[in-house]
């Protein structure tokens, strides 16, 4: 068994942090060390440790666990996401005091699972890492105190999750039975057309179903809007972004099996198209912001498929880049939702009215987030979408590109309404809690908005990283000098 401990430093650092949380959560009820005082620093440190490990590489544990550019890219994204989620959740008003350490511990375990998912290159390992990431989520979602909706959301997530997992496992058995291996590197050289290996294709489709559940791709998306709505704002920020990174990295790794024209690739493309269209059309009718974001995430899952079906390193790089963009844009919007609903209530669109006056920084940041989600320049959302469609055009899926483009046009309406309510409507007097307009809220929103804009204008370094990560999956050697740093 090959083992290189230095390649695992980011994971080990994170593991230590989560274990510390575990110890804290096991302490007696009277013992209340302030988790929110130290955890943000820990999470920030984990982020920087992961960044410094961007160039690590190696395969270990009988080659089921691979540290490469792709895994490091996603680990950086995931630890960044965790950091923002922790900061965001440190003000969660609906969470009982005694449950705080447990809450962060569960989030931490889930994140650790996602980090492992980023490095898993073997189907059973993927399955295990996925379960590690999922189990904590099942517990976290109903943690919102005194809310029946939260319990309902939790049950829905568990039920759908269990079914999706079962499907994935079942599919895994088919793949093992027909292809006699579970290593992606070996699966790459096997035939994946329906004519040659019908059972394997069915198996892979079912296995992908498990990932689609995490990604909330049509038709595995039914949990998504309900869970977002039921979970507290801060928890929803986690559920909406982080598990998707895990799904995207696995899909990127599996996408090397796909070539344009294969049946399974076409299925992905069709699901992507349906997902975009369904998600966007459903979002048009929403007034609850979290439901709106839920349906919009269904559409975004469809967009990511556009990169995956092209069967090129560029396509996978574009999908990875878009995944990152999606995480940042959504965390930004959820940050604002959490701060505007300072008492933890579910926001309606009309609650945003007059935000420009009450909290100008939040309003401006919301505008940046909403326009990034639409894909308007100069935001990272535009660059992400642009890379996606450029990578897919002329690889047999022009119709999918056109579907994406048309869908972007549909999506404008509801994203614009976020902006519209914040900037052009005046607020009516109400008894609801005012937005949290403190320096912490403004600084967080401002930083994320700046990230959305700056990466939108100067995407090259991160994009080079993503595209090189895509190349490594295809076995194209990448020198680190060209690795975008």
């Amino acid at each position: 068994m090959n083992f290189n401990i230095t390649a695992l430093v980011p994971e080990l650092f994170f593991l230590c942090m989560v274990l510390a949380l575990l110890v804290q959560s096991l302490g007696s009820r009277e013992w209340k060390p302030p988790v929110e005082k130290w955890l943000p620093f820990g999470a920030c440190a984990a982020f920087f440790v992961t960044i410094t490990g961007f160039h690590l590489h190696g395969a270990m544990f009988w080659d089921v666990y691979k540290v490469d550019l792709m895994s490091q890219f996603f680990k950086i994204v995931i630890t960044f996401g965790f950091y923002v989620v922790v900061l965001n959740a440190s003000r969660q008003p609906t969470l009982a005091e005694g449950k705080r350490a447990d809450y962060y511990m569960l989030l931490g375990f889930s994140t650790l699972g996602l980090m492992m998912l980023a490095s898993s290159v073997e189907l059973i390992t993927i399955y295990l890492a996925l379960e590690l990431a999922s189990y904590s989520m099942y517990a976290v979602i109903p943690l919102r105190a005194k809310d029946k909706g939260a319990a309902e959301a939790g049950i829905k997530y568990i039920m759908f999750g269990a079914v999706a997992t079962a499907l994935a496992l079942y599919g895994l058995s088919y793949i093992m039975a027909t292809q006699h291996t579970t290593y992606i590197a070996e699966l790459m050289n096997k035939p994946w057309s329906f004519a040659d290996q019908p059972m394997a294709v069915v198996g892979l489709s079912l296995f992908l179903g498990g990932m689609f559940f995490k990604l909330a791709l049509f038709p595995f998306h039914f949990w998504c809007p309900d869970v977002y709505q039921g979970a507290s704002n801060e928890t929803a920020a986690f559920v909406a972004t982080m598990p998707k990174m895990g799904a995207i990295v696995v899909l990127c790794r599996l996408a090397v099996l796909l070539k344009p024209g294969l049946e399974i690739t076409t299925i992905l493309a069709v699901l992507g198209a349906l997902s975009m269209t369904f998600g966007n059309l459903s979002a048009l009718a929403q007034t609850d912001i979290k439901r709106l974001l839920g349906f919009s995430s269904v559409a975004h899952a469809g967009y990511i498929m556009v990169g995956l079906v092209s069967g090129t390193p560029e396509g996978i790089g574009a999908a990875a880049f878009y995944g990152m963009a999606y995480l940042v844009m959504n965390l930004l919007v959820f940050w604002i939702v959490s701060r505007v609903a300072s008492d933890g209530r579910n926001l309606k669109l009309s609650d945003l009215n007059g935000l420009y006056k009450k909290a100008p920084v939040l309003a401006f940041s919301l505008a940046a987030g909403a326009f990034a989600l639409v894909g308007l320049p100069p935001t990272m959302g535009f660059m992400g979408k642009f890379f996606l469609i450029t990578s897919a055009w002329d690889h047999g899926y022009n119709w999918l590109v056109i579907t994406l483009v048309v869908n972007s046009a549909i999506a404008i309406y509801y994203y614009l309404s976020l902006f519209r309510h914040a900037f052009t409507e005046e607020s009516a007097p109400s008894h609801a809690a005012p937005p949290d307009n403190g320096w912490f809220a403004s600084a967080g929103a401002g930083m994320l908005a700046a990230a959305v804009l700056v990466i939108g204008m100067v995407p090259a370094p991160l994009f080079n990283f993503a595209i090189n990560a895509g190349k490594t999956l295809y076995g194209i050697t990448v020198t680190f000098a060209g690795g975008g740093h």
Binding site: L376, P377, F382, I389, T390, D394, S408, I412, T424, N464
Partner: protein, 511 residues
């Protein structure tokens, strides 16, 4: 990859945006106005190096930088005879916009002026960009400030108008994005000058033209995609209408000239009859509807549809006179309609109404105002001696040169223009005054912002030679290239067998 002298275009684009951020540190509305005014005047000074423009057809003041190397994106700017006039127009309009909203805008002044400056930056970017994606970035970025200008400072129906504007234009430009990507995949580059050298298959041109033309036609706007325009114009504040008329609509016709003719010549030729027909319908329809309006602003808005019809018609005639006329009309329409909208704003501040019936008898009580109005009205329908005449007559000559049949259709269009302008002007000048007695004539600020366009009206009208010198080389080159490349695409036995394949093999050889 660096080709950098004094980056005049970058400075012109970046300065308003950077200066706009300074607005957030200001408080008093009056200070905000003076600050923006100063910024707009400095912007005019910064444009002085553009006077070094050489009278040839090359792209000048070129700036080039790698942007996203892996994807071949470049930060690539430059101007030729076609775009430089639009750049200057945009810069010149900015101070006028600040002046005409001096007393008109009474709330959220900071944000208003921020939007004005942001908008100027992005529009300048559109006219300077020589990379397709850079162009698109600027093209889309301008939507947000314009949306806000209408939605926040507009009239009673502003929400509807702003939403319509946003959805229409964005829906159109998403297809433009698809076309841009298709160009890159087929041509291997986003650089507009490089793409201009390539021959694309007819089949490719066909689809690319349709996708681009839709985006541009909505922006122009051509019939039947014009319905957002009257709503947007009527609801927008004066400065918004001015910018909309003076520069935003030009982005559409500029797109036709910069992209459709050079990149898809065969398809442009193929679709020319359709585009000409639509232009004629726009001219006649815009004129006829304008004739029936009782709201002055709506009248001028519909007249824009007609005027822009002249521009697109001129472009799709593909002859020297037609394209020159189109360029002149782009400039003229910017000056004249911009001035008309400013005057409508001025009179609205007095009467609080845009109805013709509420704004009559001005000849007696506001003679200076009526003088400028009369001048602009004459220029608007192309009276000899004014700039409108130069543009319109060129399009006329081009049209008759192409076919007397097309020319015949333009005659009623021109007559309609005269009819609606005379109708409104006569009523405003000599109609029975309602409350005009109590109004004051133009103040100093209004004098300034009306004199400047008036000078240009007469300058272009009486001495257009200087302008010809600037645009002629570029127009010649555009049309020569167009003729050659069109023939190349048509003569090819199998247009389906693409030039793109050749380019791909060339690129492969290079690698």
């Amino acid at each position: 990859m660096l080709d950098f002298g004094y980056p005049v275009l970058t400075i012109l684009i970046a300065f308003p945006l950077i200066a706009a951020c300074g607005l957030f540190f200001l408080r008093a509305p009056q200070v905000v106005r003076y600050y923006t005014m100063a910024v707009s005047l400095i912007e005019c000074l910064l444009a002085v190096p553009l006077m070094g423009f050489k009278l040839n057809a090359d792209f000048q003041f070129v700036e080039k930088l790698d942007w996203v190397h892996q994807w071949g994106l470049q930060y690539y700017l430059g101007v030729d005879g076609i775009s430089i006039l639009m750049v200057l127009l945009t810069i010149a309009v900015l101070p006028l916009c600040v002046m005409c909203s001096w007393t008109y805008i009474g709330k959220r002044e900071k944000e208003f002026h921020f939007c004005l400056l942001f908008m100027t930056s992005s529009v300048l970017g559109v006219f300077c960009a020589l990379d397709l994606v850079l162009f698109y970035v600027f093209w889309e970025a301008m939507l947000i400030p314009m949306y806000l200008l209408i939605a926040v400072w507009g009239g009673d129906d502003r929400k509807y108008a702003s939403l319509k504007f946003f959805l229409y234009t964005l829906a159109g430009s998403t297809l433009l994005l698809a076309a841009i990507v298709a160009f890159r995949v087929t041509g291997g580059t986003f650089s507009i000058p490089d793409l201009m050298q390539m021959n694309f298959s007819f089949r490719f041109q066909f689809w690319a033209f349709l996708a681009m033309a839709l985006a541009f036609a909505i922006k122009v706007p051509m019939f039947p995609f014009h319905t957002w325009l009257p709503a947007a114009h009527v609801q927008a504040p004066s400065a918004g209408s001015v910018i909309l008329a003076a520069v935003l609509l030009k982005m559409g016709t500029y797109g036709f000239l910069r992209f459709c003719l050079p990149l898809t010549p065969a398809a442009s030729e193929y679709f020319a009859p359709m585009m000409i027909a639509i232009s004629i319908v726009s001219i006649l329809y815009g004129g006829a509807i304008a004739l029936g309006q009782s709201d002055i602003k709506k009248l001028v808005a519909y007249s824009s549809v007609g005027h822009m019809g002249f521009v697109t018609l001129g472009i799709f005639l593909f002859n020297q006179r037609g394209v020159e006329g189109a360029l002149f009309q782009m400039l003229n329409h910017g000056i004249v309609t911009g001035a008309l909208f400013m005057m409508i704003g001025a009179v609205y501040e007095r009467s609080h109404s845009r109805e013709i019936s509420k704004n009559m008898g001005l000849g007696k009580y506001l003679p200076a105002f009526m003088f400028f109005w009369g001048l602009m009205a004459l220029a608007s329908f192309g009276f000899p001696g004014t700039n409108g005449f130069v543009g319109e007559i060129l399009v006329f000559i081009g049209a008759f040169q192409d076919s007397p049949f097309i020319g015949m259709f333009l005659v009623p269009g021109a007559l309609l223009g005269a009819a609606y302008m005379f109708r409104v002007s006569l009523k405003m000048a000599w109609g029975k005054p309602s409350t005009a007695k109590a109004w004051r004539d133009l103040n100093a600020r209004e004098w300034i912002y009306l004199t400047i366009p008036a000078v240009f009206v007469l300058w272009i009208g009486l001495a257009p030679t200087g302008f010809f010198k600037v645009i002629d080389p570029s127009v010649n080159k555009l049309l020569n290239d167009f003729d050659q490349r069109k023939v190349a695409a048509v003569e090819a036995e199998q247009p389906m067998q693409t030039a793109a394949a050749d380019i791909h093999s060339l690129l492969a050889e290079k690698e």
